[in-house]
Symmetry: C2
Subunit: 117 residues, 2 copies
């Protein structure tokens, strides 16, 4: 940050900066929030989520629908599970997945609205 020395310590609007310093979210919050948004940052995961909106699906059906290998889908499902966006339920040899709650879709819908403006 050598280039910013003059700017940061001499010509910066001190009052403005000092006033805002207190409003900065804790870095743990910013990190968690970032990780959360990253989950939605992948088309495959978005595809899976929007599909689960309509029905509870097993890994096999999901793989067929999103046109990915079962392994790849399973890896993504693990991530979605870790963030509690989906829930799994075993029924015999199959494992069925469903959305954990509805306001996951609210977020996606809202982003879609923003994009179409």
């Amino acid at each position: 940050m050598s280039e910013s020395l003059t700017c940061a310590y001499q010509f910066v609007h001190e009052e403005t900066v000092n006033a805002l310093q207190a409003k900065i979210l804790p870095s743990s919050t910013l990190n968690d929030l970032g990780e959360f948004f990253k989950v939605f940052g992948d088309p495959s995961r978005l595809k899976i989520l929007t599909l689960l909106q309509h029905a509870e699906l097993c890994v096999c059906d999901l793989a067929a629908l999103v046109d990915m290998s079962i392994s790849a889908v399973s890896h993504q499902l693990k991530i979605l599970r870790q963030f509690r966006l989906i829930r799994s339920r075993r029924e015999g040899k199959n494992v069925f997945y469903a959305l954990a709650d509805d306001h996951v879709l609210t977020l996606i819908t809202q982003a879609l609205t923003h994009l179409s403006e």
Copy 2:
């Protein structure tokens, strides 16, 4: 996808899969949506966005606040600009940045709500 051959073409719930096939969002939409969410997937960018909520800021002040080099901040601002999340305005030697619209924050707030549940 050799491992999924049996599953995908023999034991899949054909009716379920066929019915959902039509509900899959176009890949262009899924890609755009993914790119959009990726922008929110970085703590630095989130920090910048939440700061601009409170005031219009020049690059220099922002760099001081987020504790990053001016160059790094400028790179991130470029991305935020490309997605029309922020607007820039030159005033003499300074360039001031502001949020393009408010419902960018609605999205962040909503994600925060989800995290604290």
